[in-house]
Amino acid sequence: MTALSLTKVNKSFGKVQVLYDIDLQVDEGEFVVFVGPSGCGKSTLLRVIAGLEDATSGEIFIAGEQVNMTPPAKRGIAMVFQTYALYPHLTVRGNMALALKQEGQPKDVIAARITEASRMLDLDPYLDRRPSELSGGQRQRVAIGRAVVRQPKLFLFDEPLSNLDAALRMNTRIEISDLHRSLGATIIYVTHDQTEAMTLADKIVVLRDGRVEQVGSPMELYNNPANQFVAGFLGAPSMNFLPASTVGGAEGLTLGVRPEDLARDPAGLLEAEVTHVEHLGGDTNVVLRGPVGTDITLRLFGQHEIGFGETLRLGFPPERAFYFDAEGRRVAA
């Protein structure tokens, strides 16, 4: 069944249009990630789905019902915010109970749901504390718990990890992924971080300047990007772009090769000078100055002794190369 469907959704603030004709289908139980650079409209799209902003035109269906005129509380959604947005005057328990009380749920149902959620998120010791007495990671778990107790048709996450430090971010990412599996919930998740998108999503929606650039599974987008923007946005370190003519390709086209597809190859077509080496232990990233002055990143697995200023010859399997025209559209070689 379709959990969410958008048809021709547009949004403008006054004269400024931020979303253009967004069409999207989300199936039940899917984990969908909206990703894009800041200002691409991904948060606005999420807010339109939540009902915090009205769509200027277009239709929004949640679980088959048109919700354009439905207030946020009645859309059957729950949202987790970047800044947690916990109610400062309520305890953890009170924070989780508030929405259920507003819905008019009986007390025993509220208590049971809170017990369930707090067990799932390990919040038991903190139920009677106030948000100010919790650490960042705990606050984010409470915010997730507040969404879970509502048993919504649709979970909306607005950059929930960007206020956490790196270690905690990884843990919380795994927790969210577990939660998705155990609840079988439909989740829409907004982030600007392509790693989060790649690791969490069943389906990634890449947005740029208010338009959908491409929709697909992480591996589809990685292996088969529709254009130069998607190719460059997903994958870290990001894809190398250089004029195709430098390796004997057609004039005017851009060649894209991922750093992990490049290899040292005496018969390779590229020659470049090492300008920077990053030793990460597990892999080694080498930045080189290629022909016509473009930077090329090479990702080698394992540890390598490469000196600054060395000249390397690089090659790549031809089937791993992408070609883009002047407008950034993908073309055959």
Binding site: F13, A50, P72, M79, H89, A99, E103
Partner: protein
């Protein structure tokens, strides 16, 4: 302050300056207080001397208690001040919330219009206000004063509060909306507690001019039963003879309630429960 950053010399200088300023600021109050406990002769002979066995006298306070209904004046001042502050804070905060939270046509224009009152003194409109009060039959009622002071306080209140309301996390308000809270609940339960320090600032700024005002009580409510404290004290100041004992005693007593209100609000100034709401 951090111990390592504390330089004893700087510290001493800082305190000396602050203490000196405190003395300067409190000196007139101090003179009023000591002289209110002295005989008339002693006030003029040595205005700066402390009352001793010879010069000590409660005559001023006696006069104040006997002449005129001092407690009624007191009560009037209190009612007018507290009611005006209440309306300024409630309506000011509501307007500020609307201006900072909702996008509607003419939002900026409305904000400017409401802030205009900061630049134009309300006393310019005294004649028109008096005409309006006469027409509505509000002359010589406390409501006349409360309405005027509310109008006088609103512009600055809206100006200050809307700045603070903008700083309240938008996510918090949105979380409330998704959880099904009404806009009124969001305003009263989520936003107001977070801008409490700003509300206290507005209250303190408004309270003192209202309490001390002589102009509007004199024009709008000079009747015996609606006299405020400042107006009531004027009976002791004559064109040719002034009963200084009584004036000083009345002023001394007038300081107390403002001080109590100030203490209440300044506590709120310091207290803030923002921490933990976001980030």
């Amino acid at each position: 302050m951090n111990k390592a950053r504390r330089n004893p010399l700087n510290n001493a200088a800082m305190h000396a300056i602050l203490i000196a300023y405190t003395c300067v600021a409190l000196f007139p109050v101090f003179v009023i207080l000591i002289n209110s406990f002295k005989t008339r002769k002693a006030i003029f002979r040595e205005p700066l001397a402390l009352p001793d066995a010879d010069s000590f006298s409660m005559i001023g306070y006696q006069t104040v208690m006997e002449q005129g209904d001092f407690f009624l004046y007191f009560q009037n001042s209190f009612i007018v001040t507290v009611a005006s502050l209440f309306f300024v804070l409630v309506f000011g905060a509501m307007a500020a919330f609307a201006l900072s939270e909702y996008r509607f046509k003419g939002n900026t224009l409305m904000g400017l219009y409401l802030a205009l009152g900061i630049m134009i003194p309300i006393r310019i409109g005294t004649v028109a206000i008096l005409e309006m009060m006469v027409a509505t039959g509000l002359v010589n009622t406390l409501w006349a004063l409360i309405l005027v002071y509310t109008a006088q306080g609103l512009p600055l209140a809206i100006f200050i509060l809307s700045e603070f309301m903008r700083q309240v996390s938008a996510d918090l308000k949105d979380a409330g909306r998704i959880d099904g809270l009404t806009e009124y609940t969001i305003f009263f339960r989520l936003v107001l507690p977070l801008v409490r320090p700003a509300m206290a600032t507005v209250a303190v700024f408004n309270m003192i001019p209202i309490w001390n005002d002589l102009w509007f009580p004199l024009i709008l409510a000079p009747a015996e039963h609606t006299k405020t404290l400042t107006l009531g004290s004027q009976v002791f100041i004559g064109q040719f003879v002034t009963d200084w004992n009584a004036v000083l005693s009345a002023l001394s007593m007038a300081i107390l309630p403002v001080m109590i209100l100030y203490v209440i609000f300044s506590r709120q100034l310091i207290r803030g429960i923002t921490s933990g709401a976001v980030k």
